[in-house]
Amino acid sequence: MSDPSAPPVLRMERVSKAYGATRALGDVSFDLRRGEVHALIGENGAGKSTMMKVLSGAVPPDSGRMTLEGRPYAPSGPLDGLRCGISMIYQELNLAPHLTVEENIMLGREVNTGGWLDRRTMRARVRETLEFVRHPEIAPDVPVRKLGVGARQVVEIARALLARSRILVMDEPTSSLSQEDSLRLFEIVRRLKEQDVSVIYISHFLEEVQKVADRYTVLRDGRNVGSGTMEGTGLDALIRLMVGQEVKEMFPRVPHGRGETVVALYGLKGTRMAAPVSLALDRGEILGIAGLVGSGRTEMLRTVFGLDELEGGALVVSGVETGKAAPWVRIGQGFGLLSEDRTGEGLALSLSLADNITLSRYAPYLRFGLLRLGRQEKAAGDWIARLKIKARGPLQKVLGLSGGNQQKVALARLLHQQAEVLLLDEPTRGIDVVSKAQIYEWIGELARDGKSVLFVSSYFPELLGVCDRIAVFHRGALIDVRETRDWDPAALMAAATVGRAGNG
């Protein structure tokens, strides 16, 4: 078990890392003791994943030093990190779905004599390891794709154990697990501790973190804002550390008023939604949707827009009940969706800015069925100027633009489309502060012009700064909707992470 006087297994000292002008980590120091579970918590973008990338060797730090078992540690890459005994278990599992459990666990470490596999030895080791993690029921010769998410995670852990890892990093391990699987995972974590394995446990679910972890470290804006022992530390204290002091001027507010209900969801349920959702959106309203990644917000937006199939409930648009509808029908009804996956879905990267901006509405440029390219180009040029998009011109491919400018192109398409109801999924993810402030202002202007906005975000300060009302999702269900003035940062964080709102 962890012993405070023993030297730490891992020590990070004043580690810094910047991506261009954005500082991801600033002078972060961190100790990990032998056989402890250390929780790493913080909001999205606080620097947790950058810190783990530095630890695993995926990115080199700009400055600072690390020691592992008292010796200097400077991994040349993820493989080097793994060789030094540090294993990562990511949210998206890194398994080959077609290979069997055994093949996955032994992948790259096959026991062999002169290239011939020693199946008997391998089978014995795999069984031994699966027994150790209390999952002997997992058959070694079943292809991994036939296993559930929980079992796959166990396979990953077994893989890390067979690699004789001394340090295990678990990134949001329970976010897609059932209650029962989560409890079994905690049991495995306890057994790992008994074997003197140290675990860095990253999770947004604070109650779970309290149960599992011995100590915690909170990151905010790339800095370590507090470490301590979990015993005797309350949820409130953790939330306060995560949220910190707010900068209000970041959010320019445009005065706007709310009108009649434009869109109403009555027990709306899509094929990928965990629970039905009821919600109403008014004309000229900005309605924030808070929650953790994977809490069901995106699935709701996609069901409304017709990208996911609707399987129950009703969607009432301007007083008219509508059933299943494809995206092109929803666009006709005035909807527009900004995808959270900018490069995978939001934009056609190999097409020009002009094509991307006008793709959802060509009508203004048609005459006798033919496009007037000059007009299309000019209109796109106007949007580029209006949204201050940095590009060589409307005919440049979107591929070469920076993330912030790409996001502006995606937004320009919704504006050009003249959508009345804008479904924005993480519209400010991964873009710089100046562009963010601009986007907040445009959202305000849209509301002033009588449009309605559903604003999904994992970054709660922006929801508190921009929205009229905020709804919170937790583990697939909408659990609370309130006027923004009735929320405060701590209550919002508590609702999203614990599943019940505090008293505000």
């Binding site: 990208l307 494809a326 995206p327 092109w328 929803r330 666009i331 006709g332 969706l337 995808s339 996956d341 995978g344 879905e345 939001g346 934009l347 056609a348 990267l349 190999s350 097409l351 094509d355 991307n356 793709l359 959802s360 060509y362 048609l366 069925g369 033919l370 496009l371 390219l373 060589r392 491919k397 591929l399 070469g400 398409r413």
Partner: protein, 324 residues
């Protein structure tokens, strides 16, 4: 603004790239003394153009499919099937025009089935059209009773005649058909909503869906149009051979695909042009023509065309890397 002229030069090179390749191929044979005299004659150019008609018609449809991110392996089988249908109808006493239309329509139907299977069964185009390659070829052989179908000579057989009647046409009517449809398709791709949707689907199908494009309907239309072109190519094949031959054009789908790729089409979708594909067709035809005149054996031609495909695509990738 020193980047401007450079960007313009880049753009010019993109358009002219395949064209320069074509001139290069022609120049090589024009400077070889043994063939110079015969190669550079108008009659030879006309015969090269006539030999290109069938691949060119196939490439018009294939360009559409490849830009949309798909592939059609059944093109050549479809051409054979259409040629058999046209011969069968005319042989059975149908007016030549009816035979021609039937051939084209059957080609279109094969494309319609391709598109429907790809969208409804959510199968990749490679698999569906690989299956259709066998199905269409088998149907052609079945209908033809596994032999050639003779048909009486009609005006349809003059579509591919090297010296056309009336004489003012100058070239085989088939060549004019290709030119007209190439212009129509180029306009369709650049100046219509359908054309922009084809590019959008090939560039990123999810984005296309997000922007309200009816991706399934558009894809079915794409494969149907390509099928119609295969049907027309089949009629031209019948016109050239004067018989309906179910074993004709085996492997021709690869020539068609090669032409589109040499002309700048990307197998990952979102890129390609009609002009480029047509130049790609001519590059291959001139190479074959020149090699034959040199008296080089067939296998040398095959090796050279193989090298050309790899070189053309490599150059294309280098250009892309510079762009991004």
């Amino acid at each position: 603004m020193s980047g401007r002229p450079k960007a313009n030069l880049q753009k010019a090179l993109n358009v002219l790239g395949p064209f320069i390749g074509l001139l290069f191929v022609i120049a090589i044979f024009a400077f070889i003394p043994e063939v110079q005299g015969r190669f550079l004659r108008a009659a030879n150019f006309k015969s090269v153009a006539t030999q290109s008609v069938i691949v060119a018609l196939g490439a018009l449809g294939m360009t559409l499919i490849i830009i949309s991110g798909g592939i059609d392996l059944s093109a050549a089988s479809n051409i054979a099937l259409a040629s058999v249908i046209a011969a069968y109808a005319i042989n059975a006493g149908a007016p030549p025009a009816v035979g021609l239309v039937l051939g084209v329509v059957v080609g279109g139907l094969v494309g319609l089935v391709n598109g429907t299977l790809i969208t409804r069964l959510r199968l990749v185009p490679f698999i569906v059209t690989l299956g259709m390659m066998g199905i269409a070829r088998g149907l052609a052989k079945w209908i033809a009773g596994n032999q050639k179908i003779d048909a009486p000579m009609t005006w349809v057989n003059e579509l591919m005649a090297k010296s056309p009647r009336p004489g003012w046409l100058l070239m085989a009517p088939g060549i004019w058909v290709v030119i007209v449809f190439a212009v129509v398709m180029a306009i369709l791709l650049r100046y219509t909503v359908f054309g922009r949707h084809v590019f959008a689907i090939g560039s990123n199908e999810s984005t296309a869906r997000l922007c309200g494009i009816r991706t399934n309907g558009t894809k079915i239309l794409i494969y149907s149009v390509a099928g119609l072109f295969c049907g027309l190519a089949g009629v031209m094949e019948f016109s050239r051979l004067t018989v309906g031959d179910p074993t004709v054009a085996v492997g021709l789908e690869l020539d068609i695909i090669a032409a589109v790729v040499i002309g700048g089409g990307s197998l990952s979708g979102g890129e390609g042009s009609i002009l480029g594909s047509m130049i790609g067709v001519l590059i291959m035809s001139f190479l074959r023509n020149g090699c034959t005149m040199m008296g080089w054996p067939n296998y040398i031609q095959e090796i050279i065309i193989g090298v050309i495909i790899i070189v053309a695509v490599t150059l294309d990738r280098l250009r892309h890397r510079q762009e991004s």
